[in-house]
Structure formats: structure tokens, C-alpha cells
């Protein structure tokens, strides 16, 4: 990952196709995972990442040379790439895995992304990606990628500004109880939080244009990455059903119930 000569930014945005946020999740009968025969859409944090890249270009104009989106996933993930292209990205890369393959893990994904970054002519200056995917909620890929690349990292960003001249990113990140202002040397990996922006709708003219934008298809093996999981899923279950409360007639009954449940008065 090396800076481009004229300091024009090349931005890479990884996106993932997930079960849609509005869908009610159900565990499959074999208890090996969830029912995936439901509506999917782009991971909301990734949508924010794409939006941020497009906004950077709107602000920095020609200083942003390219916005490339990449997804690692089954054939249908191409739709997710099209959505990102319709939002304003220039081109896409689809690292296709078979429908039957297990979902890749953070380390595998980070390695694929590393390989992609290394292949980019002109390098990559900025990677903007979701802080987590809402399906597995692992929240590790960005950090792993930054480490492998030896790049700066700022996670859970709620504000991002890039100073092209100084070749740094000024980032506000969400931390427990407040915010932190970071200055990151580029190249950097920035992961997005909800407050960063509100993604736009893809407009019809842009959806039409997106159909003609190039998508390069690759496989993990072409990139020299082994996606075999290192984690083993033993069982997936639903959280225990919430049991409804009961009503008591008076304080005595309440106290009796509490005692029954093992609560006792504090001895003074």
C-alpha cells in the first residue's frame, strides 16, 4: 500500500451482503445456522462506508481518483456491488465463493482484502469499511486488515476528513463515554459507525449507469488465500423465550414470591 504519486486518493470500500436488518432472524432446524432464505441487503455499516467515500469525492472532487468496492461472497453478492456502484462507486471486484461454502471469517477476509490492495495499480490510500457486519457481529476485520497492511487505523468513526496535502485523515471516533479525535497518516483503514452519515437512495439514473460499470470477478485461490474456517460452529440456538410476568394482589404475596425466587431481605 503505497501513496499515489500525485497524491490522488484511491479509495477501497469492502461491502458485505447480509440478511436485511428488518428481517426477523430464525434458527434453522438443524441448528447449524440461521434461515438464509430471506431478504438480504448491504450491511448497513458498509452502506455508510460507501456513502462516506462518495461524499469525500463530492467534497474533494478530482482529488479522489477512484472508489472501488469489493465483496467476498456467493454469486448473489453481485447485487450488493451493483447497489454500491449505483450509490457512486466507480468499479467493483467480486471475490466469488460458492453458495455452499461456509461464511468466511474475519482473518480470511482481511487476507483477501490485503491481496486485493496489493494488486491495485496506483495503490490504495484509504480503506473505508463497516465496523462490523450485522449478521455475525464479529467486528474484527478492519483491525486485522490494518495490522496486516501495517496501515493506520481508526475504528468506529463518526466524522472523517481527509487532508490531501498533508496526506492525513482527521477522524473522530466513538469511544466509551465520548469521542476521540485522531490524526491518521495515510494509508489508513477507517471503520464506520452509525453517526458518520445517512446513506442516500440510489437514484434511477445512477442505477442505470451502474449496470455498465465494470465488475472484476476473482476467486480466493487466485489471490492465494485459503478461506477454510478456523473456527468450528457447534450449535446455534435462539435465546431463551422471555417468560411473561405474573400479577400479585398485594405486598405480602410479592414478598412471598420474591422469597420463592431466592431473594431475601438484607440483614441490617
Amino acid at each position: 500500500m503505497r501513496p499515489t504519486a500525485a497524491r490522488l486518493l484511491n479509495i477501497l470500500v469492502p461491502v458485505k451482503r447480509c440478511v436485511d436488518y428488518a428481517v426477523k432472524i430464525r434458527v434453522n432446524p438443524q441448528q447449524t445456522g440461521i434461515d438464509t432464505n430471506v431478504k438480504h441487503s448491504m450491511n448497513p455499516f458498509d452502506e455508510i462506508a460507501v456513502e462516506e467515500a462518495v461524499r469525500l469525492r463530492e467534497r474533494l472532487k478530482d482529488a479522489v481518483k477512484s472508489i472501488k468496492v469489493v465483496t467476498i461472497g456467493p454469486p448473489k453478492s453481485a447485487e450488493t456491488l451493483r447497489t454500491a456502484l449505483a450509490m457512486g462507486a466507480d468499479s467493483g471486484i467480486h471475490v466469488e465463493i460458492p453458495d455452499s461454502a461456509p461464511s468466511p471469517e474475519p482473518l480470511g477476509v482481511a487476507r483477501v482484502l490485503e491481496a486485493i490492495v496489493k494488486r491495485q495499480e496506483g495503490g490504495v490510500d484509504l480503506i473505508i469499511m463497516g465496523k462490523q457486519a450485522i449478521d455475525d457481529d464479529l467486528g474484527q476485520t478492519g483491525q486485522m486488515l490494518a495490522a496486516i497492511l501495517g496501515a493506520s487505523q481508526a475504528t468506529c468513526a463518526s466524522k472523517l476528513e481527509v487532508d490531501v496535502e498533508k496526506y492525513v485523515a482527521n477522524v473522530r471516533t466513538e469511544i466509551d463515554g465520548g469521542a476521540e479525535e485522531l490524526v491518521c497518516k495515510l494509508p489508513a483503514v477507517i471503520t464506520t459507525d452509525l453517526r458518520l452519515n445517512e446513506p442516500r437512495y440510489a437514484s434511477l439514473p445512477n442505477i442505470m449507469k451502474a449496470k455498465k460499470k465494470p465488475i472484476e470477478k476473482l476467486s480466493a485461490s487466485e489471490l492465494g488465500v485459503d478461506l477454510t474456517p478456523v473456527l468450528e460452529t457447534i450449535k446455534v440456538t435462539e435465546p431463551p423465550k422471555r417468560v411473561g410476568g405474573g400479577k400479585v394482589e398485594n405486598v405480602d404475596q410479592l414478598v412471598a414470591k420474591l422469597k420463592e425466587a431466592g431473594f431475601t431481605a438484607l440483614s441490617t
Binding site: 428488518a22 448491504m42 437512495y201 440510489a202 437514484s203 434511477l204
Partner: protein, 508 residues
């Protein structure tokens, strides 16, 4: 006693409506004795009364006396919340005997003042009758208590892959009984037709307490007069609906929506025609939103707006929904349509957005469904829900606005806005006049002006909201004298004592 009652009545009603009451059959107010009798029928917690010995205050039953818009106010002392048909029947028997006026009430979301008393009629609220009685996942026949909330019925049948044949902005509060009583149209009518087609049977308690059990689940039944049809849209003036059997369609496997920004209103019709041609059976909604209505929904945070620059200069918007069985098939059709619209020599649309996820799908619907709510947040609404030829939608909004301007009423302190939106597919326009307050001056400027305007297009002064208390006097703008006379005879037959929702639909 009688004179004080009259006096309190006078206070309760605007003078305009009072003059019609001469022929009203004499009705009695609810007394403490009546409440004592109701206590034999219902559990205590199903009776809300401000009559002694109760210590309830009038404000405790405000929510039942006032309508959703805050436009109509009743003065009832007593609200009953029965749990089953037998209780409703026993209550009605008593009211019939005692000649007590009764207002059936569902979710109280009605927009024409039909769901609250004009004077101090007894309110029978169906909210406690909220059980699903049966659902057949093969035929899709759903039988439910009238008090079931529309949205909870949708949720009940969703796991069986069925949807309710109607959908409207008030779905979280309105009840299926209220929907049937108002013959609600809503957002899916284009695709699934009206309740006159989808309701299979009804259970109704007649004004004298008799139960008319017509709760069949069969689709075809040509044995004599189809009595249930009379109660669909009767607005509670012929009986209380206690149970509904309704045919629910299979849930579409793929649905998506599009909002299009149109440079000129004149393009709505060609866009509609083109959409019908390209999409045919998968077109499930086609809604019209004029610029002012759109801006209002955006202002009140109803759904995410389109990009501001993209929609600059758009005179109006349409929301179009497709529902079908196969995503790829539907997308191909939709893409074909969008290409035609965008790539025409003279494009019919400026731009548009296509939902990319269920979340966006919902957000785009909010822009349309949230208008009603935005209007109430903005001010006091005079709502005219009319059927007119599509080509006249804009003209009617413009003429009304101009008329108000000429009367000197178009300014911040009087009428703030005149907006139009509605169901293009059904030729149904919602003309909304948003005022700072309800005043007799604005009222006089609007009526009969709007009704005459509608009549001049041979339209209907009530496309889907009903007549209620608001338009009972205006029925002749859309119905002939012969028709109104027949209606009066039917009312007389079912309700000889005139106790069912008095003053609604037909004047006293």
C-alpha cells in the same frame, strides 16, 4: 331534567348542525340506572362512566369522545368495552328498549367524525374483542373478532405467508371491524380490490340485540340477498359488526417500490399508463403526492427524502409498488419501465429512486403514509376525500387554493396550505386544507364549494372515508334523491328507533 339536558346538548353541538335535529327520534341519555344494568352484563373494568357513583372524570374518557384529528368532540358519559358477541347483544337489547343512542367505535381513527358521539350517545368500543377465531392457510380465510387491530392480523398471518388485502396508514390503531364499517380502501385496493369483494362474511349485532350470523368462509354463495354488503361501509348505522371473515391473499414473494419525481403534473397520467402496460399484474400501488405534500412529509421527518438537487423543480411525485412471485421476473419488468421513462426523447420523469433493501422500502412508504400524520402535526385539517377523474387532481387542488386566496384566507393565521395526494390507481384524491385552527369562516369558504366542485366532475364527495358526521348533509352531491330515499328505508328497517350511530351517514 329534560330542559337541562337540552341545554347541555346545545352547548355540545355547533349551531350549524343543530338545525337538522328537528326530525331526530327522541333518544334517552345514559343514566346511573343504565350503568347499573350494564354492570350485570360486563365486568367492572369494561365500564367507564362518569355518572355517579363513579369517580371518573370526563377527561378520563376524552380519548373516546374526541376523534383522531381533534375536530369532533362528543359528550358521552359512558363507554362500554365488551369482550364478546353475547355481551354486545345484551347491551344492544337494553339500549333498544331504553332508546339510548349508540356509537360503535373501533380504533377511532376515522376521519369524518363517525366514531364519536354527536351528543352524549353511549360509546361501545370494540377494543376488547381482539381474538383471532380461525385461519385457514390453504384458502386464506381469516375469521377474527371485529376489534382485532389490522396490523396484528397482518402479523398473525405473516408466518403462514399471507397478507391482509388492505393496508393503510392507520394500521397500528384501526380495527378490522372499523375497516369494514367504513369500507376502507387504502394502499392495496389497486391490487386486491375493495372489501366488498374480500369480506366473506360478517357477524353483526342488530340494533335490537339480534345476532345476524353470516360468518361464512365459503367464497361463493348465491342464496338470496347478500346482506353483509349492507354493513360494509354503513359506518355503524345499521348494526355493530362483531366478527369478520375475510379472504387474505398469499404474500407476494418479491416486492419493491420506486418513487418518481415528475417535472409536471401532466405527466402523471402517461406515467400511470406506461406503468400499467409494462408491469401489468405486478403493479400493486400507484400513489400520487404533490410537491407541497411531499415537502410536508419531509419536514416532519416521515421517511428519508430524495436528494434535494435531484428533485429540484419536481412538481409532483408518484410512489409505485410491485408485488410478484419472482424477484428476477419483476425486476426485469421494472427495469424495462424505468428505462422507457428515463430514456424517452422527452423523459416523463426527472429522476427517481428504487429501494435497495426492505429498510429503504419501508422508508419510502413512510413518505407517502406519513402525510396524514404530518398534516395533523402542521395544523388543523379539513379533509376532503374525493373521487374525480385523474386529470383533474391538480386542477381541484389549485382551484381550491385560489378560491381561499380570493376569500383572503390563505395566510399563516388562517389556511396555511392546500395539498393533494392520493390513490391515482383508484381515481381517489385526498384534498387537505391545513388551517391554523378550525373556524366557521374557513368552513363556510370550503363548503359547499368543494362539494360543488366535485359534483361538477361527476365525482364522489367521499371516496373511502365515508360520510360520518362531516358529510351526512352533503350526500345529495353524489347520490340521487331516489337512492337516498331507499337508504332511509333500509335504515328504518334495521333501526326503526334510530339508535344506531344517530346523525351519521343520513341526517336525523
Amino acid at each position: 331534567m329534560l330542559s337541562t339536558r337540552l341545554a347541555s346538548r346545545r352547548l355540545a353541538v355547533p349551531a350549524r348542525r343543530w338545525k337538522h335535529t328537528s326530525s331526530r327520534p327522541p333518544l334517552n341519555s345514559v343514566t346511573a340506572d343504565d350503568v347499573a344494568h350494564f354492570a350485570k352484563i360486563l365486568p367492572q373494568n369494561a365500564i367507564l362512566s362518569t355518572l355517579p357513583p363513579s369517580d371518573l372524570h370526563a377527561s378520563d374518557i376524552d380519548q373516546y369522545n374526541n376523534d383522531w384529528m381533534g375536530k369532533y368532540h362528543g359528550n358521552s358519559t359512558t363507554v362500554l368495552r365488551p369482550q364478546n358477541t353475547k355481551q354486545v347483544s345484551d347491551i344492544m337489547k337494553w339500549c333498544h328498549e331504553r332508546r339510548i343512542g349508540v356509537v360503535p367505535q373501533g380504533g377511532n381513527t376515522g376521519l369524518v367524525g363517525g366514531s364519536v358521539p354527536i351528543l352524549d350517545e353511549l360509546i361501545i368500543n370494540l377494543g376488547n374483542m381482539s381474538k383471532v377465531r380461525s385461519f385457514d392457510p390453504v384458502s386464506g380465510a381469516l375469521v377474527a373478532d371485529a376489534g382485532c387491530i389490522l396490523e396484528s392480523l397482518s402479523e398473525h398471518i405473516a408466518p403462514h405467508n399471507h397478507i391482509m388485502p388492505l393496508d393503510l396508514g392507520a394500521k397500528g390503531s384501526c380495527q378490522i371491524g372499523g375497516n369494514v364499517a367504513t369500507n376502507a380502501g387504502g394502499l392495496r385496493l389497486l391490487r386486491y380490490g375493495s372489501l366488498h369483494g374480500t369480506v366473506l362474511g360478517l357477524e353483526v349485532v342488530l340494533p335490537d340485540g339480534t345476532v345476524l350470523d353470516n360468518l361464512t368462509t365459503i367464497r361463493k354463495d348465491n342464496t338470496g340477498y347478500d346482506l353483509k354488503q349492507l354493513f360494509i361501509g354503513a359506518e355503524g348505522t345499521l348494526g355493530i359488526i362483531t366478527g369478520v371473515s375475510i379472504l387474505t391473499p398469499p404474500a407476494p414473494q418479491a416486492s419493491t417500490n420506486v418513487i418518481l419525481a415528475l417535472p409536471r403534473f401532466e405527466n402523471v397520467l402517461p406515467v400511470f399508463k406506461t406503468a400499467r402496460l409494462h408491469l401489468s399484474e405486478i403493479l400493486s400501488a400507484f400513489e400520487f403526492i404533490d410537491r407541497e405534500a411531499y415537502d410536508l412529509a419531509v419536514k416532519h421527518g416521515q421517511g428519508k427524502a430524495l436528494n434535494e438537487q435531484d428533485v429540484e423543480g419536481a412538481e409532483c411525485f408518484v410512489l409505485l409498488e410491485t408485488s410478484g412471485g419472482k424477484k428476477e421476473h419483476d425486476e426485469e419488468k421494472l427495469t424495462g419501465l424505468l428505462e422507457t421513462l428515463l430514456e424517452a426523447d422527452e423523459p416523463l420523469i426527472l429522476t427517481g429512486v428504487l429501494s435497495q433493501s426492505p429498510t429503504q422500502f419501508a422508508s419510502m412508504w413512510r413518505l407517502r403514509e406519513g402525510i396524514t400524520e404530518s398534516v395533523s402535526k402542521e395544523g388543523k385539517a379539513y379533509k376532503y376525500d374525493i373521487s374525480i377523474p385523474l386529470a383533474a387532481f391538480k386542477e381541484v387542488v389549485d382551484l381550491t387554493r385560489e378560491h381561499l386566496r380570493k376569500q383572503g384566507l390563505l395566510h399563516e393565521e388562517a389556511v396555511k396550505q392546500v395539498i393533494g395526494y392520493g390513490h391515482v390507481g383508484d381515481g381517489n384524491l385526498h384534498l387537505n386544507v391545513i388551517a391554523a385552527a378550525y373556524t366557521s369562516e374557513i368552513q363556510a369558504a370550503l363548503e359547499p364549494f368543494v362539494y360543488e366542485l366535485v359534483a361538477s366532475y361527476n365525482g364522489s364527495i367521499s371516496a373511502e372515508h365515508g360520510l360520518g358526521a362531516m358529510k351526512a348533509h352533503a350526500i345529495h352531491y353524489s347520490k340521487t334523491g331516489v337512492a337516498v330515499d331507499m337508504m332511509k328505508k333500509i335504515k328504518e328497517l334495521f333501526d326503526p328507533r334510530g339508535i344506531m350511530n344517530p346523525g351519521k351517514v343520513l341526517e336525523f
